[in-house]
Symmetry: C2
Subunit: 450 residues, 2 copies
């Protein structure tokens, strides 16, 4: 059902490219959809990709271009003339074309625009690239069908006939007042089943949800997801309809946001993927490693201040990794639950305190279980002082980590910092340090007094 690229198939394509066997390649590629062809492209070198791109038909080629990895697309576009790029853009939706052109060097953008044959498409693209990245304006496309409320159903269908060439997929017709302001919508279903002479104003749905051009992409994504929308109209500051956002663009935003969160949680600062260059991957990962190292150094200072004690009771050192690891694990668990709650908007101002208490409750239950088990183990292996130290420290560390794991992301969120950062190395490092401090403090107390 779904295409899976096998190495045999890839090899057969590479062999055919080598032999310039255009018939074989055209035949194989014809059966595939653009996203699948893009997967193949990502496995080819530039020369192979450029050759095979020429063989694609006019409808498929621009779609493949859109589906490519950013790096691959950039490489490929460098081999194209401005006129060739313009031809590709002419066959794209305006939003996609604007995305591609925005990736080009600025001096080239104008040149490419001047080569686009369809003047309306060119002006649409020119408008769209002006919207700030990460806003509804940068997500929207200009292709839409709109009618005035005073028109009739048959006039509206006539309008669709003339505008339809530009609009690939159509879900609804937007209804405007005399000042081009969006006042409602009309589903195609309603249009089909209404009398041809009915006036739009009698049958349209005035309750239409929309966003403004400066609404953030994340908000748009949340909005469409929450209200199960397939398409969302975009208006300017005066309420005039200027574009529409479709669900597929928003799914990309959702996916990117989720990936970004996972990367933040894992201590990766930049948005990278495994195909990125070595130095970019290294650079995205070093900052949090350095933070972790500073944490480790602080930890070493703390342990260092108990040197005498370690000499007498070297067994104190045995459980350092356990205490550190458990603090980290509990902290990550707690903050993951909170980050998820924040993302789903299920955390309200008032119940934050109750969440904190709940987390402490969970910490207490799991902390008691763990510290009881470790008490048994340490008592069997070592002396009762160590058993008491480890188990009491473990319980305290788990409670502390539960508290911090809840409190830190909530606080970060309040200060508009991505709380996913807190689930990662930050909370782990913090808990490591606090855990060791608690452990040695308790150890000194117990060994001194008993």
């Amino acid at each position: 059902m779904q295409f899976e690229l096998t190495s045999e198939f890839l090899d057969s394509l590479k062999a055919a490219i080598e032999k310039k066997d255009a018939t074989f390649l055209k035949d194989k590629l014809h059966d595939l959809y653009a996203p699948d062809i893009a997967i193949i492209f990502n496995q080819l070198d530039l020369e192979e990709a450029a050759y095979i791109y020429e063989l694609l038909d006019d409808d498929t080629a621009p779609q493949v271009l859109l589906e490519l990895d950013d790096d691959k697309r950039e490489e490929l576009l460098k081999t194209f003339s401005s006129k060739e790029i313009a031809e590709q853009l002419d066959n794209m939706d305006s939003d996609d074309a604007a995305d591609v052109i925005a990736e080009l060097p600025e001096e080239r953008q104008e040149e490419v625009l001047s080569h686009i044959e369809d003047i309306e498409q060119a002006s649409d693209i020119a408008e769209l690239i002006n919207y700030e990245e990460g806003t509804a304006g940068s997500l929207m496309a200009k292709e839409l069908v709109s009618v005035y409320s005073f028109e009739t159903v048959s006039q509206c269908i006539e309008e669709i006939r003339t505008q339809a060439d530009n609009v690939d997929v159509m879900y609804a017709v937007y209804v405007l007042d005399n000042n081009e302001r969006l006042i409602g919508m009309l589903s195609l279903k309603k249009l089909i089943i209404s009398h041809p002479l009915a006036r739009i104003e009698e049958i349209y749905e005035p309750d239409v949800q929309f966003v403004k051009t400066n609404t953030s992409s994340e908000e748009v994504a949340e909005f469409m997801q929450k209200y199960d929308l397939v398409v969302l109209p975009v208006v300017d500051q005066l309420g005039r309809l200027v574009g529409r956002i479709t669900v597929d663009d928003v799914m990309d935003v959702i996916k990117e946001t989720a990936e970004e969160n996972i990367q933040r949680m894992s201590g990766i600062t930049d948005d990278v993927d495994s195909n990125d260059k070595l130095w970019r991957l290294s650079r995205a990962r070093i900052p949090w490693l350095l933070v972790g190292m500073c944490g480790g150094i602080v930890g070493s200072r703390i342990i260092g201040s108990y040197e005498e004690q370690i000499k007498i009771h070297p067994e104190m050192a045995y459980f350092i990794p356990l205490i550190g690891a458990m603090g980290g694990n509990v902290g990550v668990q707690s903050s993951a639950i909170i980050v998820q709650g924040l993302a789903n908007n299920t955390l309200l101002g008032d119940n934050i305190v109750s969440k904190l208490f709940k987390e402490l409750g969970v910490g207490l239950i799991n902390g008691l279980i763990c510290s009881l088990l470790i008490w048994g183990y340490a008592f069997a292996i070592e002396d009762w002082q160590l058993a008491a130290t480890v188990s009491a420290a473990l319980l305290t560390v788990i409670l502390c980590a539960s508290f911090l794991g809840t409190f830190v992301p909530l606080t970060m969120n309040r200060f508009k910092i991505n709380p996913a950062l807190a689930t990662g190395p930050f909370v782990t490092t913090l808990n490591d340090i606090i855990g060791i401090t608690i452990y040695f403090l308790m150890g000194r107390m117990l060994y001194t007094f008993f």
Copy 2:
């Protein structure tokens, strides 16, 4: 633009419920969409929710029911009679109704079904609850419009008129052959702009993507996302059209999968959220804590075997947390990149070895930076043997963690285990143990020979 529930608004609603001020409540709720009302419901107690539910109009009430948290819906439905539940189901899409009824105790399902007035709806629901959870069959709805290829455009429009009552949102008409087998589709746009006497077989699009009833939900989600589909037809084993899946259902699957992955990465075994009960939250989190504890105990045994050395060189103990934390951090970073690559299908059989080398390259760069820094620090503070031990161990640990962070998720994936598990406590624990072993081994070697 987007509704935000404030505690003032919530308080005013609660006060109105207390006073049974139906006019005020109806007025306030009328302005809101179902997902927003559901957010309010999740903050009310059962009695308040049950009272306010009665005030919702017939269209909104079932939508609110669908948007509620599972626990809340279960509670609320317990206060309803079977007949009342049946009324709600009658106003839902068949797929949503099937989801709700599947949550009821089995003996109640039949009773509720028998109360549904619309016989077709009842039989659709009865069919849908038989599909296994997590398959396309369980995601699909029965509401769709289909025509035979031999019909004309005007017959087709007539068909839409009669079937349209059941289908809320319509994107396309499916085309069937005489044996009810799916052979293509027709966009509403095409239908509107075609001549009324044109035959469907002359204008339909034969290239239609579909899935089978037993395709897994994740595969469906990936499929629709990859090919940017808004609606996807579902066929049975004989190729007969039996339902359709819409993008909103799939967005829920995508969101749930992403959340599940984040939970697995954070060492949470069950799908929980912060509103779940205390004991459920505890139970979902204890397994990986116990694994982490076993790791800690193994670590303690390893350190224990170097007791004599710690007595002589207690400074060896200082850097235990640093070594453990860095191994964990690097392992998590590496596996996050791989898990993401696996999810995006950008990792192909052939280039896994090259990924491994790339990760080792990143590990080498970052490892060299970190170990150089720690060498300088340890040399300044302690002796050269310790500096050499810590920095050499750190480099080795980072390389090891890079390797394991790449290798473990890839191996898990090969054995069909969710690789996100590897990014969490599993890789951290493993790297902790390996890190400590390397560190003490190197320390003994250096202190013994020099």
